[in-house]
Symmetry: none
Subunit: 233 residues, 4 copies
DNA sequence: TGTTAACCGAGACGGTACGTCGCGTCTTTCT
DNA sequence: AGAAAGACGCGACGTACCGTCTCGGTTAACA
């Protein structure tokens, strides 16, 4: 992959990306993912990556700066697939499928490890957080056609006044799953996925994700002022 | 709270919980929280706790086993407040207030630190994860009266066939916020909170959280089988 | 060796010198000397000492601070022998023997290594320099009886006016050897040693090392002021 | 000195010594000396020389092989001055002046640095040692006229049987100073210098440096056999 | 006057050792 | 007997400098 327009590290390794440099980069990314699967994020060490990639520790620091950089780069790689949202013929079907995909990927013992490892990493590394943020931004952008199709099918009211917020709708279908998986750490299954999808559809039908109408709704907010902390230890 | 019925570490420190032991435990918990605020979870060290609590490192290991134990114990403490859900007179108002509390507590630079630190800790420590899970379980249990009031007010259909799932409803109102805060790491404000509350209410009205009817809904699920990974790097 | 009143490092390892601490110290000193013999000073590494002494690198730094400290400590050990100056029955004989000892010890391939290593170390470490200085101070102090005997034998004029400077005399006998060994790096043999001894004796007879007369001699110095540098690259 | 007849490195840089090559070499030598003054020998790095000379690191290795070569080359430069020994009109005066020069050059904080740095370097580099050796050889050769004048003045007995060893005499006057400066690391001042000069003169008068008589003296050596090590740690 | 070989600048890299941090264990000493 | 105090083994950190290599670009000697 001689082309690599995105700049993971501004320092070395970006000026002469031919030959060895590129091979090195790929090896490193593989090692990072392998390390995540093997030990999880907290157990991932630079030295492990060095050993398993055949790239010397010093070089890793030179080019990626730190573990954070390594992870961010690995995430870039992960984002470069050609995933497309499901297309089942109905909005609820699509969202269900989407939600079930989430559940499946984080339930499967193999794939879940590296995924949650990166989410964990985002808590400790600005760089990883940014990479993760970009990753999901991209994912949900790819979901827009899903909503578009629903509008075309007439399942959602034609968006006269600004259109429906496709991103918000997709997020709504996934949010409860991630919440349960990584915050409250409750068990999730397909039932949970289906419920999340159903809730999102219901909210969409109620116009919650229609920006223009949102204005009206917000206007009626009673602006409760609380000082207590609810969901925070 | 002189005695500690729940046993964080079964070994020493549980036999003679009077006097010094109790004082020690409190000091340790304070130090843990202070450490979290100061350095975040990844920067929290046993040695820091030892210094700031006046309890020797060796003792910390004897009684709490490791950092995980220290955190879990501190979480127990955090859960022992007398928080109650908001009561604004309407279901949507209550949920909005609830959601805004979440946003406020994780937006405030002071309170957000220790909160997200513990969530981060849960990724690296089984013990912390369990403690966090219990914490949220308790919180959402306390939200049941909120839903109950709505039913009594007639805002929600009387729960003839098993009643509404209060926990699911409350979670639905909070999930999108946590999702954006800690997974996709998008900016969150009161508008987001209001939208989340509205979506939850809409879903509730549509009967999504009514178990009995849930059966029916699930029955219509087309059981899409996907192998791709959607939301996972 | 439970006693060890001299404090090589003020930090750890000095408070509780019982048992392990003492054993550790001896092992480390052996490893240091072995390292010097094997690689010379520039090739001596802390990691080598760690491996060959069985004491962990971290501990070495904790107790000795750095390579310098390790060397200084090893020097202390070396100084703790019971060397006494030769006693051949005549001043010149004694000085010859002394000078030949020097030549022998730095000519022998085995013993010379660690010796010159420490001299080399003194160039790079204040601590090693101090230790070396103390070592020679002690050695030459032990030579005083040698001169004393010569006075008693009548070989040297009775020291009426302040006595002869025993240290200066002994140093005079050794200086040319060290000079040739380590500065000009010329070959040195027993002939050189004998010449140095003879020169020292001649100077002593001429009263060069008799402080009181020194005053007179110095008075006649013409105080040449030169700006050029003679012996310095 | 455009061309460089002596070959520090037989490889590159010797075939086309015109223009840039010569300029480069001078710049490098300056940088080496500057580095010595700034950080001392142990702190002198190839990278420093590269930066401060404007010559790339790779080139330094190509032409000088290593730090040692750089130093040896710099020493060659230092030896190429037109120093001559003092001429005060008397042997002792000359030697005093000589000795005081030594003291002065190694006492002055500016000039002493690079001088002792090179002596230190000789401990770690064969090449530097050879260069240093040659340097002093040359210096003491230049001192021969000094002794010659004394003979002509009648201060020293006419050298009938092989003449006096001028080199040994000059060395004798300097040795105690270097010994104290770099071995025992005692303070030295002009008094020390004068004493050294006086001792050398006395020894010379006693015929110590007259080779022919040396034979006789050595014959009387009693060949003491010692096993202890005197001056060596 | 071109060619061509020697040389140089630039940058990345594998590698050794550094000196430090924090962990978790152990021993010793106090009370 | 439990706790305080300290030393230690241990693994990993992030850095400095080493010496090597590859890649272009320049330059000087020679055809």
């Amino acid at each position: 992959m001689p082309e690599a327009p995105e700049s993971p590290a501004p320092g070395p390794g970006t000026r002469r990306p031919g030959g060895r440099t590129a091979r090195t980069r790929a090896a490193v990314r593989d090692a990072v993912l392998a390390g995540l699967v093997e030990h999880g994020y907290p157990g991932l060490t630079v030295e492990y990556v060095a050993e398993h990639s055949g790239v010397h520790k010093t070089t890793l620091y030179r080019r990626w700066g730190s573990l954070e950089g390594l992870l961010a780069d690995a995430l870039d790689l992960a984002g470069e697939d050609n995933w497309t949202p499901p297309d089942t013929g109905s909005l609820e079907g699509d969202l269900r499928a989407l939600a079930r995909e989430v559940v499946a990927s984080f339930t499967d013992p193999v794939t879940s490890v590296s995924g949650s490892a990166i989410i964990a990493a985002a808590f400790q590394s600005r760089q990883a957080a940014d990479a993760l943020s970009a990753y999901y931004e991209e994912r949900f952008k790819r979901c827009e056609p899903l909503v578009q199709r629903a509008v075309e099918r007439g399942e959602l009211p034609a968006a006269r006044e600004g259109g429906i917020d496709a991103g918000a709708l997709s997020r709504a279908a996934c949010a409860p799953l991630f919440f349960r998986l990584f915050i409250t750490r409750e068990p999730v299954d397909e039932r949970t996925a289906d419920q999340a999808a159903a809730a999102a559809v219901a909210a969409a039908h109620a116009g919650v994700f229609t920006p223009a109408r949102d204005e009206e709704r917000v206007a009626s907010a009673s602006g409760a002022k609380e000082t207590g902390t609810h969901t925070q230890p």
